[in-house]
Symmetry: C2
Subunit: 125 residues, 2 copies
DNA sequence: ATTTATTTACGAATTCATTCGTATACCATT
DNA sequence: AATGGTATACGAATGAATTCGTAAATAAAT
């Protein structure tokens, strides 16, 4: 994926993924739940993102409506692979083990992961 | 961790973690296996890193000897948590599942992960 | 001893992301 | 029609990361 969102862009994408579609004002208000950020700052970022193709916008009415133009899954996969390469010497399993070792995963989540592993093992032995 | 290495710094830490200790020239040559980068660029980065406390250096001889001053585990954990927060809505398990779903994990690695999960579950059954 | 090569230190250019001020257009209400 | 509020567009300041050129110091080779 040649489109790599920056940190701020990822914040905005997060809002759009959860809301589905939103105006600049709505996104800006969501961001301001977390930290203070000016309206025109958010606007500018979203304009840049539109130019990059990270978001699409409907310009029919004066107040433009934005939505994400890339899948959350794809972005997650891209960022994950980048992290695996840059910090885990390319080993996804050591990343997984590090993540699990943090102790922030509930028992039911662990069960779900185990199920997934068994499914993966079954598929390609 | 207040010390967050940048992308380039992480590359250098990677070399130091694998070599244990190295001169600027050695690090630069390792980096040049991947991409072209000038000697003084690497030097400057390592000087900045020394100032930040990311690396330590022995200055007794003219050619300084550098080594990493932070644990690979700690950096991995920091970056992992950051990614979980920024791209996975704080859910470590969804990151794990996304990572496993890539299909880049061998059967023996999957086994090892399963063992780890069972060990973690054993703690509070 | 003079030249050549290697090293560190320093400063600065470049690039990119982030931030916001100002101008302009549009719409609604008076 | 004039006023006030809200929107977009644009330009530019700021700051951080990356890059490298040049100078000065040191060591090695002739």
């Amino acid at each position: 994926m040649e489109n790599k969102p920056t940190a701020s862009e990822l914040e905005i994408l997060g809002v759009l993924w959860s809301k589905g579609a939103a105006t600049v004002r709505e996104v800006n208000e969501a961001l301001n739940q977390e930290r203070e950020i000016g309206y025109t700052t958010t606007l500018k970022l979203m304009q840049i993102m539109a130019q990059k193709g990270l978001v699409a916008r409907d310009e029919t009415s004066r107040t433009h409506i934005y939505k994400a133009a890339i899948d959350q899954d794809k972005v997650q996969a891209t960022l994950l692979n980048r992290l695996v390469d840059s910090a885990f010497s390319g080993s996804a399993s050591s990343l997984v083990m590090q993540a699990l070792g943090q102790g922030k995963t509930s028992k039911s989540e662990l069960e779900a992961i185990k199920k997934l592993i068994e499914k993966l093992e079954g598929g390609q032995p």
